[in-house]
């Protein structure tokens, strides 16, 4: 009887998988055409993308960059589709610096921006050597002097005052935090008072850097300056408010609650109007607080109230055990906050803080309604009102949107990196 049983003695060679299960076809099938409805949606989506691109790309690449007015653009285009981007090249300086900042001084804000990168780096990326923070500490004064110019005594005095305050604080805070803080403030004011007289006496006719008035600032530079200043001021203020709201001392708690709730209950634009319009009534005509300063104060107060609530959320999210742990180690209130509570609470609050920061940065465009010429103010006012460029909307506003998107997207990417970097739990 013949042995009919079959035993395979060698492996079959591998065969290529079916064409529908590999590569691009498989990817298309699973992701785009898995079912009939999905396939239809895919086709519809592609059609929409095609429509958008077919509209935008010729406009973008067929654009005109070198004419000197809208009517010339139209002559060049002869009815073809194309953007009139000449407005961006012709008014570039106005879009970035405003229309009154002296042209020959553009290097000063530019330099301030470059230095900002160095000053911000050690704050943003804490792997960098800590000594770089020294530069961060003096940066605000350098930047002020670069942008506004004038006698160097002003930023120097301001710096000396802060330095004095810091030294006094260091000296006393180890034994008594409150005494250190109050003494620091007092020292700063004494130094500023003395410095103010010295600056007035020593002010020369021709300062090293030509002074530039706040009214002359404008363009995207103004947005950036307002954004950076207000964010960096409102975070410390927000932390203080959040802690104040949690305080067991009724007066401090009451003041903080009233402040936060009042500010949150009022639209920013109202505060800006108060800053620009109402305050003028309270001062004599020649002595008003600088407009830029008024706006900075108002935006800072506004966003610090929001940041305070974000941080309060972070504080509330910490388990009670953390507070008790700090107490059981024998730490007093400032130490417990600085070493145990705030590092954790702030970490939890990062997304919320970044949210407020991005919102604040975009809100800086609101200053255009109180006749400050930020980027949007420049576009809506002088540029669209010039006889050459009246009627160019898409190009200008698209450009503004692009600038803001770049900055805001950068902030959001940074915050995501920060969250990953700080993740210490085992989720």
């Amino acid at each position: 009887m013949a042995d009919l049983s079959f035993v395979r003695s060698e492996m079959l060679p591998e065969r290529a998988p079916p064409a529908t299960e590999v590569g691009i076809v498989k990817w298309l099938r699973t992701n785009l055409f898995s079912t009939w409805p999905n396939a239809l949606l895919t086709i519809a989506a592609f059609y929409v993308i095609y429509l958008v691109l077919a509209g935008v790309l010729p406009w973008l690449f067929g654009g005109v960059w070198t004419t000197s007015s809208l009517s010339e653009c139209r002559e060049v285009l002869q009815g073809d589709v194309g953007g009139c981007f000449s407005v961006l090249t012709e008014r570039w300086n106005q879009l970035i610096y405003g229309f009154k900042y002296p042209t020959e001084l553009y290097w000063r804000p530019n330099l301030a921006l470059v230095l900002l990168a160095f000053a911000a780096a050690p704050v943003l990326f804490f792997d960098l050597p800590r000594k770089l923070l020294l530069f961060t500490a003096i940066y605000p004064f350098i930047a002020y002097w670069l942008v506004w110019g004038g006698p160097i005594g002003v930023p120097v005095t301001a710096f000396v005052g802060i330095l004095g305050a810091y030294l006094v604080f260091e000296r006393f805070s180890a034994s008594n935090f409150a005494l250190g803080a109050l003494g620091g403030v007092a020292a700063a004011f004494v130094l500023w008072f003395i410095g103010g007289y010295l600056v007035d006496m020593m002010a020369s006719e021709n300062p090293l850097l030509t002074p530039v008035a706040s009214r002359d600032l404008g363009g995207f530079m103004l947005n950036l300056m307002l954004g950076v200043t207000c964010v960096s001021l409102s975070i410390p203020l927000g932390i203080a408010l959040a802690l104040g709201r949690q305080s067991s001392m009724p007066l401090i708690k009451g003041v903080c609650v009233i402040f936060i709730e009042f500010i949150r209950g009022v639209p920013l634009i109202t505060l800006l109007f108060v800053a620009s319009v109402m305050l003028a009534y309270f001062f004599p005509p020649d002595a008003t607080v600088d407009l830029f300063l008024r706006v900075v104060i108002m935006i800072t107060l506004f966003s610090s109230a929001y940041i305070a609530e974000v941080i309060r959320g972070g504080l509330a999210a910490l388990p009670k055990g953390q507070y008790e742990a700090a107490d059981s180690l024998g730490l007093d209130y400032p130490q417990a906050m600085r070493f145990i509570i705030l590092p954790q609470a702030l970490k939890i609050s990062i997304p919320g803080i970044v949210n407020v920061a991005v919102g604040l940065f975009k809100d800086t465009t609101l200053v255009s309604v109180i006749s400050m010429f930020d980027l949007v103010g420049m576009i809506r006012g002088p540029i669209l009102a010039s006889q050459e460029w009246n009627g160019v909307y898409w190009e200008l506003l698209g450009f503004a949107a692009l600038l803001f998107f770049v900055v805001c997207y950068g902030i959001s990417q940074y915050s995501q990196w920060l969250e990953r970097r700080l993740r210490t739990d085992h989720r």
């Binding site: 004064f141 301001a158 960096s232 319009v277 004599p284 008003t288 540029i383 909307y393």
Partner: protein, 342 residues
């Protein structure tokens, strides 16, 4: 940058005490001491006030500011242009941030009386008009029965429009829009047959169209919008200076004094006594104002007489192409009528 806030607050406190004294000085003295006229203008309105690519302000309202600066300070460029929005303009003037406002402001009873301002005259007689596409075939606003109308909400133009259509027993369908920019887009896209706003605004808007000749402004003007410069109540000497500087520009056109022939006419007393008084070669008009004899001459030389300012900024040779219309001299059927210089 950040910490300077405190320093600023400190200096402010010290200045505040010293500056309280200065407030009593008259506006003219303050301007002379400052060396600059603070003039409120718009943040940008085609033809009336806008900075060019070099940051130089130009326009019809700007011309008035420059003329006043030339009369008072002798320098047409000694002006600090303070851009104001529709919302901030009156507080800027009332608080003393600006010395005068030349910002397309309609002279109304409540602004003059209740807000305590003084309109010194009218430099542009505006009024609400209609713009339609030529294809529509309408030649008069009375043929617009049943039309869709783009109209800015919350303005007096909305009320004027309703009145006009009711008075003529016609119906219309409003398309509410928020800003002039939106209106341009809507009108061009065909969302409405008619766009209505101030006639000067319509002309400026039409000038930006790809094919301006395809649109017409209808002849009817359905409201009164006299626009003029204004000052605060309470300093009549200053008000007089601004009023008569504006009148000097208007009178100069009537008398045929232009920036071209003013050097000749103002060199010595000529045959026309009114020209002589205006240009200071005769009489003491400048002294009465508290200025020197050549104040009006400088004001006219700053940008030309009224007609020249008009032609250069908004006249028929500019893209805006406004006809003189109501803004012609009274001798030519318009409303411009400067009181006599005597």
């Amino acid at each position: 940058m950040k910490k300077s806030a405190f320093l600023g607050a400190l200096t402010v406190a010290s200045i505040a005490a010293s500056a309280a004294v200065a407030q009593d000085a008259s506006t003219v003295d303050q301007i002379k001491e400052r060396g600059k006229l603070n003039c409120g203008v718009t943040t940008g309105l085609v033809g009336f006030a806008a900075p060019d690519a070099n940051g130089q302000w130009n326009g019809f309202d700007v011309g008035v500011c420059r003329a006043v600066a030339a009369a008072v300070l002798g320098d047409a460029n000694a002006v600090e242009f303070v851009p104001t929005t529709g919302k901030t303009r009156f507080t800027a003037l009332a608080s003393g941030e600006i010395d005068m406002l030349a910002r397309n402001t309609t002279w109304t009873f409540s602004r003059d009386v209740d807000l305590k301002f003084e309109f010194v005259g009218v430099n542009y007689y505006d009024g609400q008009g209609f713009m339609v596409a030529k294809d529509l075939g309408a030649t008069s606003a009375k043929e617009l029965d049943g039309a869709t109308v783009c109209i800015q909400t919350g303005t007096t133009t909305e009320l004027n429009l309703a009145d006009f259509f009711r008075a003529n027993d016609m119906s219309y369908e409003p398309v509410p829009i928020e800003t002039n920019a939106e209106a341009q887009q809507q009108y061009l896209a065909g969302a409405c047959d008619v766009y209505t706003t101030d006639a000067s605004g319509l002309a400026a808007t039409r000038a930006t169209f790809e094919d301006p000749s395809a649109h017409v402004l209808l002849p009817e003007i359905i409201s009164k919008e006299p626009l003029g410069p204004l000052v605060r109540h309470g300093d009549n000497e200053w008000g007089d200076i601004v009023r008569w500087t504006l009148n000097a520009l208007i009178a100069a056109e009537e008398l045929g004094v232009t920036s071209a022939n003013i050097g000749e006419l103002g060199a010595s007393a000529g045959a026309n006594p009114e020209i002589n008084r205006l240009l200071g070669t005769e009489g003491t008009l400048g002294e009465m104002l508290g200025l020197d004899a050549e104040w009006a001459k400088r004001a006219i030389m700053a940008g030309g007489n009224y007609g020249e300012l008009f032609a250069k900024n908004i006249g028929e040779d500019t893209p805006i192409a406004l006809a003189r219309g109501l803004n012609a001299q009274w001798t030519e059927g318009g409303l411009l009528y400067a009181p006599p210089f005597r």
